[in-house]
Amino acid sequence: MPPRPKLSKTDHATIGKIDDLAGTVVSQIERGQDPFVNVPIRTLANSRWNQSRAIIEMGSAKAKRNFFNVGIAKKFMQTLLVASECKELIADDEPIAIRMLYYRTKHTIEGTRENTFEEQEESDPIIEDLEVTIDALREELKLFAEQRGGMVGPMIIEDSGDTINLAALGSGGWAVPSIVEEDVIKWKKKDCQAKFILLVEKGTVWSLLNRQKFWDHHQCMLVHGNGMPPRGVRRLLYRMHHELGLPVYVFVDNDPWGYYIYSVVRQGSINLAYESTRMAVPAARYLGLSSFDRERFKLPDNVTIKLDQTDETRSKQILAYPWFQKKKAFQKEIQHMLKSGVKLELEALMHHDVTFMAKKYLPDKLKEGGLW
C-alpha cells in the first residue's frame, strides 16, 4: 500500500465538510427520516446583483434534495456517490478531470440495466451542486475540467514549477490549465511587461493576432477562451487584473453570445454565481464588435448575418439583466443591433484586409478605451 500523501489544511477541511454531509444523511436515516441535503439553488431566481461590488452573487435559497422523491431520488444518490468519490480523491491527493470522475462514479446498478450516470451532463451539475452544498471549490474537491483557452504575451510565469516565457511560445501559445491557483501558477510583478489584457472570443482570431505579434506591438497579454472562457481562464483574468493591475478588454462577436461572454467576464455567471467573487472582473471593458461598427468601418451588408428568433429573445433577456439596466450606451448598442436585424462576426473585419483588425480596428478602439 502506498504511503498516504500528506494532506494540506484545505484538504482536511474539505474532507471534514464531506464527512459532515454524509454524517447528517446517516443520522437522518438512523432516525427513520427521509434523508436529504440542502442544495443552494443555482438559477437566475436565486442570483442577486450586488451593485456595490458589481458582481452576481448567489442567493440564500436552497432546495431540499431528499431521497424519497421519485423526481430527485437519483440525484440524491448521485450526490452521495460524487461526495464519496471526491473524499477518496482528496485523501489520495489525486486530482482528476470531471470527465474522469464521471467514469469513476459511473457503474451499472446491480440487478438493473440502469447506470448511476448515463452521461457526463448528469455528473457535471452534481459536482457543482456538491461545491455549493458543502462550500468547497472544484479545485478543493480535486477536480479539474478539460483545459481550454490560451495565452501569450510579454510575461514570465511559473507553472507547476516550470518557468515559462509567455513571449516565446511560437504560434501555439500557452494552454491555460483548468486550475490556475497560486500554488500552481505563480508570477512576479517584475516579470510582466504587459499593460493590459485582451480577451479574444475565438481561438482562430487569437492565432491570427498572435502570428501578427499584436501582443508585442501593443504590449498586452493576448488571451482566448475558445468561446465562453472556462473557469480557468476567468480565474486567470481575475488574478492578473487584481494582482498585476492589468485592465481587461473583451473582444467578441457582435451577437447576443458575445454580449453574454462580456457579461460573464464582468459580473460572473448565474450558474456559478458562488464563484463570482473570485472570477468576476467588473472593470472589464467591451472593445467590440459593436453594432455601430458596420457604419463606422464601412462593412457591407454581405458580411452580416441575420438575427434569428433565438438571437432576439436572448438579446432581450440580456437587456433586462439588472447589471445592464443603467448602462445607457449598452442598451443603445443592443437596441441598435435589434433594429438593424443583423449580427457581425469578428471575421467580418477580414473584409477590408487581413491586417485591418490588428492595424486599424483594435488600435482605434483601444485608443478610445473600450465602450463600457
Binding site: 431566481a45 424519497f68 430527485i72 437519483k74 440524491f76 473557469r231
Partner: protein, 674 residues
Amino acid sequence: MPLDTVSATRGKTGARPGGSRAGTRQLFAGQAAAAPVPATATAAAPVTASSPRQADDGADGGNGHLGAVLFAGESAAPSGRSYVTAETLAKKQREISISEFFTKNRHLLGFDNPKKALLTSVKEAVDNALDACEEARVLPEVVVTIAQKAENRFALAVEDNGPGIVKGQMGRVFGQLLYGSKFHSLKMSRGQQGIGISAAVMYAQLTTGKPAVVISKTGAGRPAQCMKIAVDTRKNRPEVTESHEREWPERDHGTRIELEMDGRYQEGKGSVLEYLKMTAVVNPHATIIFRSPKGETHRFDRAVNELPPESPEIKPHPRGIELGMLIAMLRNTQSSTLQGFLTSDFSRVSAPVAKEICALAGVEPRDKPARLSREQAEAVFKAFDRVKIMNPRTDCVTPIGGAQLTAGLKKEFPAQFYASNTREPAVYRGNPFRIEVALAWGVESMTAPEAAPAPDPDADAPPRRKKKEEEREAALMQVLRFANRVPLQHQQSACAIFKAVMEVHWRDYLLSQSKGALPQAPVVLMVHMASVWVPFTSESKEAIAGYDVILKEIKLALQEVARQMAAFLRRKQSAADQANRRRLFDRYIPEIAAAASSITGIDRGAVQSRLQAIADRKTRQDEIAGLLPADAPSEPPADPPTDPGTPPASRKATKKAGQPSNGDVNPTEFDEGN
C-alpha cells in the same frame, strides 16, 4: 290469488300437486276454430275463466307479442258464424293452421335457420327446466347434451331435477302448441322464446319425422313415465305414440326431453355454449352441464345455494296494456259492470278513478264489460292516459341481487374487480321493472394476450406504429344483456341496454373509448332488466325497447358501477405508482448505503436496512398489497432518463414532484463552460 289474474306459468307447472287443469285459456280468442279446447280440458268450463286455478295452465313461452300477432291475425279472418260457406272455410283453415303457421312464421319463433333452431330448442328446454325447478323451490341442475347424428342432424337432450310432470299433462306440455299462455300474466318470468318447447318438438318432427322422447319422474320411489310425443299438426293436439313406465334410478324427480332435429352446431357468438354460459352467469343458483357434440363437457357450477325469491303476480296496470289486450280482458272478465271490471281486473284503479275513466270515455260504469263495442273500448283505453293513476306496485319484480350477480359473473369471468348495482324498481308505461348491473374489470380471458407481450424485435420502431398495434389488440368491453334472467344474444345495437352503455362517458371513468365504439377495456358488463313485461323491439325478443325511463335507469345503474370501477382503477393506479416508486428507491438504496458507508465508515448493511424500512413506510406497502397482480411487470424501466433519473442538466426536472428546480441550470441560460 285475485280472480282476474291470469296466471300462466310454464307447462310443467301442471305437475304441481293440486295443480288444476280445469280449463285452458282460449288463446285464439277471436277464432275458436284455430285452437280448439283440448278434449281433456273440462268441457263445461266456460271460456272465461271461472276460477283462478283455471288460469294456472300456462303454456310455454308466454309470448305475449306472439300471442298478439296470432290474435290479430286470426281475428282478422271473417268469423262468419252464421254462414255455412264461411264455416267450411274455417274448417279448412283449421286443418292447415298449425303446421302452416309454424312454417310461415318460423323466423318469429326462432327457427329461421338450422343453427338458430338448435339454439332455440335448447333455450326453450332450459328455460322450462329452470322455471320448473324454481317454482318447486329446487336448486336447478340442468344437463344439456347435444350429439351429432349426421352432418346436419343432432340429438338434443335436456334433463332437469325439477318436480317432474304428471302423466296426464306430459302430452299437452310437449305436444300442443300454445297450450295455455302467459299472455295475460303479469309476472316476472323467463317466458321468452316463441311458443315454447312444443314448437321445438314440432320442429324436430317436421325435420326428422321423429317424436320427442320424454321421461319424467315426480318423486322418489315412483316409477318414471316415458312417452314418445308428437304434435298432431292438423288438430294441434299431442299425439302420444308410446307410453310406458320405467325405472329412472338416477333421479328422484325430474324431466328429460330428447329431440332429434336438423341443425347446425357452432361455437362462438350466438351459440348454444355462449347461451348456456350467459345463463349460468345470470342464474348463479343453477348448475348447468353441457355435453357438446365435440365430446367436451362444460360445467357451469352453481355459485350460490339460494333460490331467487318467488315473484308475485300483479294485475295489469291501465298504462301497461294495449288495446287488443283490453278488448280481450273485457270479454273474459267475470265482473258484470265496467266499474267492477276496472277496479278488480286492474291494479291501482279505485272506484273514483274507474268512474272518472268511464266519464272520460263516455260510457256508463254500470255497462256490461262484454257488451262494449270496439270503439267504446278504444275510448276507455284512451281515457286511461288522461286520468291520474298511481304507479303499480313494484314488489313483483324481484332483483337477482348484487351478491348473486357478482357470484354469477365471478364464476364465469374471473377478474380482478367486481361491482354491482341494483336499482330501485321503476315503472314504464305502467309496467314495473328493475335494472341491475354488474361489472367485472380485468377479466382474465380478455387480458391474457396482454399479459405476455411478444418481445419487440425492433426496439427502434417508431412508437406510433407500436401504439396502433396495441390499440388494435385492446379488447372491447363485452356487454351481456339479460331480460328476466334470459340472455339476449342478438340485435345488440338495437337494444336499450347497449344504447345506455354507449351513452355513458366511459372516459370519465378512466376507460379509453373511441368515438362511437365500446370502451377498450377488459370489462364484462352485465345488465339485467327484470319486469313483468319486458318491452322488446320486435318479435324475435332480442332487444329491449328504448323507453326513456328504461334508458335512464340503465344509465344510472351503469354510472354507479362505473364509479366503483373508477375508484378501484384509481386505487390500483396509485398502488402501481407506489410499486414503481418502491422499485426506483430499491434500486438506489444499495448505492446510497455504499456511498454513505464509504464516507462515514458506518456499516453499510445497517444503513441499507434502515433505508428499506423507511421505503416501506413511504410507499405504503401495507396498503398496496393485493391490489396488484403478482405478475405485474416488475422490470424497472431499462432506460431511466425517461422517468426517474436525473434529466440532463439543461432540462427542467422535478417539476412533477413538486420540487423547485433543483440545481438545474436555467434552460434559457447559455452554457457557462467549465
